[in-house]
């Protein structure tokens, strides 16, 4: 039994005739924390959305927690239950309360009894430090609070892997840190994480590996000290110069 959570090899993804991901090879071990960065349109979202099959790849293989994501994957829902995802725009369900957002999937997909699901949801809402908002609707919360609910909602499924797609880039600056704090604490607890983010402080603090993508390719990957200290590729250097000069 290998210890890999996600193994991607020789993977290509096309949108129609547009070659969005080119020959991607990536292995993520259990407990590993990966930060993915790169310019807009480089394929970062596409890459992590392929991992829970929100997008389909055309060539190569993706193996998630021991299951191959090919056309034969009988029950993609089964895999998605083990792979949580946090979106840039939160995507909370506006017609459900915060608590219902968190308990819906455990009750439906895991057949958990309501009281048990609610207790667990409250535990995670405390963990992201908004238990007092449980009865409110998402529309009544600030962006930072909504994103923390979205993280709690994903955690309620007790996923093996957590994917983040620019979780802080739709937030007002003063709310970014409250979300990052939660993510840091998850990382410290050993959660397997793939985060698309441009928060380089976060990358330095928790990442085991930083991956730089450009034009659908993985251009460079390295441990954070090496990645920020001595980037090898010119495109990486340019990118880092641009975002770090701000």
């Amino acid at each position: 039994m290998s210890n890999a959570a996600v193994t991607i090899s020789g993977m290509n993804k096309y949108y129609g005739s547009f070659h969005a991901l080119k020959n991607i090879n990536l292995t993520v071990q259990k407990g590993e924390r990966i930060v993915i960065c790169g310019p807009s349109g480089s394929g970062k979202s596409t890459l992590i959305r392929c991992i829970n099959k929100l997008e389909e790849h055309q060539q190569g293989s993706i193996n998630v927690l021991g299951t191959e994501l090919d056309d034969n994957v009988g029950n993609i829902d089964q895999i998605r239950r083990e792979v949580g995802m946090v979106f840039q725009h939160f995507n909370l369900f506006p017609h459900l309360t915060v608590l219902e957002n968190c308990t819906l999937s455990p009750m439906l997909a895991r057949k958990m009894p309501q009281d048990e699901a609610e207790n667990m949801a409250m535990t995670y809402l405390e963990r992201v430090r908004i238990p007092e908002q449980a009865e409110k609707f998402p529309g009544e919360l600030s962006g930072g609070q909504q994103q923390r609910v979205a993280i709690a909602r994903a955690l309620c499924m007790k996923p093996e892997v957590l994917l983040f797609d620019e979780p802080t880039s739709a937030l007002d600056p003063e709310m970014i840190s409250e979300v990052l704090e939660v993510m840091v604490s998850l990382a410290k607890d050993g959660m397997t994480m793939l985060c698309v983010t441009h928060e380089m402080g976060f990358a330095r603090q928790v990442a085991d590996r930083v991956i730089f993508m450009d034009q659908g390719e993985i251009v460079e990957q390295a441990a954070p000290e090496e990645f920020f200290g001595a980037p090898k590729n010119e495109r990486t250097q340019n990118f880092l110069n641009q975002i770090l000069s701000h």
Binding site: L54, I79, L108, R153
Partner: protein, 362 residues
Amino acid sequence: MTDQIAVFIPPHSNIAQRLRKRFFSSAMNSVITIIVGLFLAWAVWNVFNWAILNAVWASPDGTSKVCHGIEGACWAVIDVRWRLIIFGLFPFEEQWRSTFACIVIVMVAIMSCVPFFWKPMRLGPLWVVGFAIFYTLMAGGVFGLSYVGPADWGGLTLTVFVYAAGVLIGMPTAIALALLRRSELPVIAKTTGAIIDAVRSLPLVSILFTAALILPFVLPGFLVGDKIWRVIIGFALFFAAYQAEIIRSGIQALPSGQEEAAKALGLTYWQRINRIILPQAFRNALPPTINQFVITFKETSLIVIIGFFEVLASGNAAFGSGEWSHAWVEVYCFVAMIYFVFVFSLSRYGAYLERHLRVGQH
């Protein structure tokens, strides 16, 4: 700028001040207010005179003699003929059955409006029981009730029945059509689209005509069934084609992130549809949905074309025979009032729902 000052009404001003600001803010406004006011007063007085003061309310001997030479409304026609309007040709001694059947359907409809019943496991049995009671009462043939075939049903009870059955069969059909039209398989999506567009491009009358008169020649005998059911199914199909597009528009208004988030949580297709997509789609599409319900209620009057004696047709019959032919305005007022009660309740309920469902949206 001056206009805005003139229209601005301080919150604590008294009624006289408000009236002056609203209606008498300038010489021109005052003149218009007075003219319109006089006209309204004249119109209201005339209607009041006709409908109340000079009206004849009853006909003790059941003939139209009481109405000869009167100035006002001849409500006696309603007094004498209301049973025909409400029950159509349903046998006179059995009309209590029609009354209870109508009440049952209306009660079930009102109960379905309460959020408590908004679960398939509650709504389904409620309507099955409702229709079973209705059908037993109306058709009889059991429990010592004499048999009354659907051809003899009529009036308001028939209207309510055709409407309720049509909408109830039509709504799940509409949901199915809307979902099939979104199918990822082009064959299914295109076929469904073609069916919806075909039904929408036909007049309702032609669909009812086909269902009532042409289908019996085409279908194998065991599928023909009673005319009333063929008509209801034609009616339901017509409703479904329009409602499907309304639901689809509600679904399309959802951000794609909603379905993605539901997928990412591992919810199955039906869980996503039932818990995430449809509840939100119905909220988005509530105003056109209520609209469709209202239009459909009024369209029930078309089933008279294929020989059903619904409430408008029995109204026509109520003044149609020579004796009461002068009283058609009164009969139409009465029928209009019945329609108004139903349609106005529907639209008020729609407004309530909109307020109720908005809680929790931004």
